[in-house]
């Protein structure tokens, strides 16, 4: 259970920031290949979780990088699988931010980093929060990739629930399912609370 919570919280945070950078590069920069990046970010949606998991398994079970047996392979699988959703969320918000809002910062004498931190990021916040929630909930209940990639000691909630179901052990199953739902709800409410001040200011 702790594994699930850790993976979902950490994964959602890393994932959404990663998505923000992808959106920013794809839409605001003039980096060559930014169009390709945009398409690449949609690609994982085309693969079933099991297929993706199998590919990751093949990649990380042999040296140089052996991640199988650790929790990290789950993190990578989750982020890879849900990048399309995160990027949609951050891109949709970024599109609504008029480029003049950033240009006026530059012409006010701010450099690129000051502009990103003080103008772009705060304006992006509603999208980041919405994307974060979506990733968090998805990660909490992810099964198809987890069931292939977990290892003893690294079980996540959904895998545990699946195991109980396979054994016909319905009482602990129901208990875990309730815990999963309650956890998701608590996180949702918490994040909405934290973010409300900022989303209210959206024009």
């Amino acid at each position: 259970m702790l594994n699930s919570l850790l993976l979902a919280t950490g994964g959602a945070t890393i994932g959404i920031l990663f998505c923000a950078v992808i959106s920013f590069l794809a839409q605001r920069s003039r980096v060559p290949g930014r169009r390709a990046l945009d398409y690449l970010a949609v690609l994982p949606m085309a693969f079933p979780g099991v297929v993706l998991a199998f590919a990751l398994l093949r990649a990380y079970i042999t040296p140089p990088l052996v991640l199988y047996g650790t929790i990290w392979i789950l993190l990578i699988a989750y982020i890879t699988r849900y990048i399309p959703y995160g990027v949609r969320s951050t891109s949709a918000t970024l599109i609504q931010i008029h480029p003049e809002l950033e240009e006026s910062s530059l012409s006010s004498g701010a450099n690129w980093f000051q502009t990103f931190r003080r103008v772009t990021l705060p304006l992006l916040k509603p999208g980041l929060v919405a994307g974060w929630i979506m990733l968090f909930v998805s990660f909490m209940r992810e099964l198809s990739a987890s069931v292939l990639l977990y290892s003893p000691g690294n079980e996540v909630l959904s895998v545990a629930i699946y195991d109980f179901w396979a054994q016909g052990n319905f009482r602990p199953l129901s208990a875990l399912a309730v815990i999963q739902i309650v956890l998701c709800l608590i996180m949702l409410i918490l994040v909405k609370r934290l973010a409300r001040v900022d989303t209210d200011l959206k024009v």
Partner: protein, 368 residues
């Protein structure tokens, strides 16, 4: 607020293409400290691109932009200062005030990113600038609690607080309603007079350009169509394009037949018969030209007046607009538009006499 170390802004040989399309072609001009120059033209004429090159948002293909003697852009020498190091204040069409900051934070932003100023000093300067643009007491508000006009003033205050070397305006009034736009024009002129830096103002609204600027630069497909005072542009347009874009004009296609009576006068022949017209250049006989005359320079009467350039025309329709009336007449298949302040008792269908004083008939290039 006046800038003792203010310099002129110079643009030399500026060119810019997007792909195969050349949007700005070899544009050069100079703006003195305290001068208001308008870049006027229809959308797509390159005026905004020119302004964005000055601001540093666009990378021109060729040309130099100098502030005083310091180049901020010099493509031949590989100099392209980023926008944040030019010290030019810019006011955008969309206002571009930040919705997540209060009015005071918006205006203080240029000072706070520069650093090195105390909180009290910043607050004092924010207060003074907000007072100057007429927003005193609104420091704590958020932009979405302000009207469009007030938001534009916040944007203006933000550009002023950095004590910019140059002020750049990208159609700042086009999102305001007509009454407010009119008032803001005069306020901008007043402010500019106080601050005394060069200002470049992009607009597609010729009335706005006329009121606000000492000189107007009419842009024609990326080139300078004409540069001059509002009166020069209006009364002495150098091309058919300029005459057509600035104000209303009747065009009559004519052929030059010879010289007329007096200096600068030429005899022409067209659908309305032989006429006399003026020209700044010297057209040769046989050349095809457009004869341009403003609607308010034509005189309409019921009886035939003396003098040259009198044609008979049929009144088609009249519209009363308050200060003047608008009349549409036809002569030899050509529709002519006339604006007259005196009331005329004529009905549609009546035949009237139109007089076009030769000094108001300008011969211009026929165009394409």
């Amino acid at each position: 607020m006046t800038q003792p170390n203010s310099h002129a802004l110079k643009v030399e040989g500026l060119s810019k293409s997007y792909g195969a399309v050349r949007v700005v072609k070899d544009v050069s001009f100079e703006v003195e400290p305290g001068e208001f120059l308008s870049l006027l033209g229809p959308s797509g004429c390159g005026k905004t691109t020119t302004l964005r090159c000055i601001a540093g948002f666009e990378r021109p293909d060729e040309g130099r932009i100098l502030f005083g003697n310091t180049p901020v852009t010099d493509m031949a020498a590989g100099i392209l200062l980023p926008p944040n190091r030019r010290g030019f204040g810019m006011v955008f069409q969309s206002y571009a005030v930040w919705p997540h900051m209060t009015v005071a934070d918006n205006v203080a932003y240029p000072l706070s990113v520069k650093g090195g100023l105390g909180r009290a000093e910043i607050a004092g300067r924010v207060g003074r600038v907000l007072e100057l643009v007429g927003l005193g007491g609104l420091e704590k508000r958020f932009p979405n609690q302000l009207s469009g006009g007030q938001q534009q003033r916040v944007a203006l205050a933000r550009a002023l607080i950095m004590e910019p070397g140059v002020l750049l305006f990208d159609e700042p009034l086009s999102n305001l309603d007509a009454k407010l736009r009119e008032r803001m024009r005069f306020e901008l002129i007043e402010l500019q007079r106080k601050i005394g830096v060069p200002a470049v103002f992009v607009t597609h609204d010729q009335a706005e350009a006329m009121v606000i600027s000492r000189r107007i630069l009419v842009m024609d497909k990326g080139r300078i169509g004409q540069i001059g005072s509002p009166a020069e542009i209006y009364e002495r347009p150098r091309s058919r394009y300029v005459a057509d874009f600035v104000g209303l004009t009747n065009f009559i296609e004519v052929t030059v037949t010879g010289s007329g009576q007096g200096a600068g006068r030429h005899a022409v022949a067209g659908p309305l018969g032989p006429m006399e017209a003026s020209a700044d250049n010297a057209p040769v006989a046989g050349e095809r030209c457009s004869l341009a005359i403003r609607p308010e320079r034509m005189r309409m009467s019921a009886t035939a007046p003396d003098g040259p350039n009198v044609v008979q025309a049929r009144l088609e329709s009249s519209y009363f607009l308050g200060p003047y009336s608008e009349h549409f007449l036809t002569a030899a298949g050509q529709t002519l538009r006339v604006q007259a302040t005196e009331r005329l008792s004529a009905e549609p269908g009546d035949m009237l006499y139109l007089q076009m004083p030769p000094e108001d008939c300008l011969l211009l290039d026929a165009g394409e």
